[in-house]
Amino acid sequence: MTNRKLAEIIRRPNPVTLPMSATVQEACRLMRDHRIGAILVTEEDGRLVGLFTGRDAVGRVLAEALDPATTTLGAVMTVQPDTLKPTATAIDALRMMQDGGYRHLPLMNGAQIVGIVSHGDFCGLERARLDEETGFWEIL
């Protein structure tokens, strides 16, 4: 079961996207209404250009006293985030999140967005901050 493919884990087959010109406030409305932690930022042709998370809203906008109603996602998003193929495994994703220090990974089939997985998709309590336990990763 540790070899589960990410395609089996995706809970939201049509991930929520916004253009770079959308505001942080619009992104936060979508995150609140859909109870999600991240928005994929796309070009008009659907190409992935960035990722904006609730953590970014707090750290890059609110803590910096930027105005969420006028700050655009293009200004504060993570540009060209790491991605994975849906054929990758859950452990591949957890490893990448651990190494990169992030909690969300877009899944791409070539240039096509097929979903997003978040750290929270892997488990409740036990998804465990175990990834913070260095000893755990040494034995993988």
Partner: protein, 156 residues
């Protein structure tokens, strides 16, 4: 009017007593999707906070021995597995044994940018809100996201 912690906090806060056991805390965190919970005396005086990692720390060594089991637990994506709960039920520790005593907190008048700064600097997602050393609410990162969605003009 500037909005503050009092306007966006979840109140009353979900808290546990110092004598609450590990299995109860684990179930609470999992069912509420909380990453941490304040530990309070019966009169709601804050004495500490317990997070997922505080519960799991002592298992570091056993993790090595039970690699496959832990991998399965992490990767499976289910609710709390029964064998994990059974494992915790053998655990006789209480909240008081594992909690962190130095807790970052806010007051009802703390501004949203201040809340944001503490969360980012300390790498935490939840802040207990205190009045006279008693917990009156908790502000989470998602409360801040909801506040931005609601009324950005009054945030700062």
């Amino acid at each position: 009017m500037t909005i503050t912690a009092a306007d966006i906090m979840t109140a009353p806060a979900v808290v546990v007593l110092p004598e609450t056991n590990m299995a109860e805390i684990a179930s609470l965190l999992a069912s509420k999707h909380f990453s941490a919970v304040p530990v309070c005396r019966a009169d709601n005086t804050l004495v500490g906070i317990v997070s997922e990692s505080d519960i799991l720390k002592p298992f570091r060594e056993s993790v090595r021995a039970r690699r496959d089991w832990w991998l399965g637990v992490i990767a499976e994506g289910e609710a709390l597995p029964q064998d994990f709960l059974d494992y915790l039920r053998q655990d006789t520790r209480t909240a008081a044994d594992v909690m962190v005593r130095h807790v970052h907190t806010a007051t009802e008048g703390t501004s949203l940018p201040e809340l944001a700064e503490v969360m980012i600097k300390q790498g935490i997602k939840r802040l207990p809100v205190l009045r006279d050393s008693k917990v009156v609410g908790v502000v989470s990162r998602s409360d801040l996201v909801a506040a931005i969605a609601q009324s950005p003009a009054m945030l700062v």
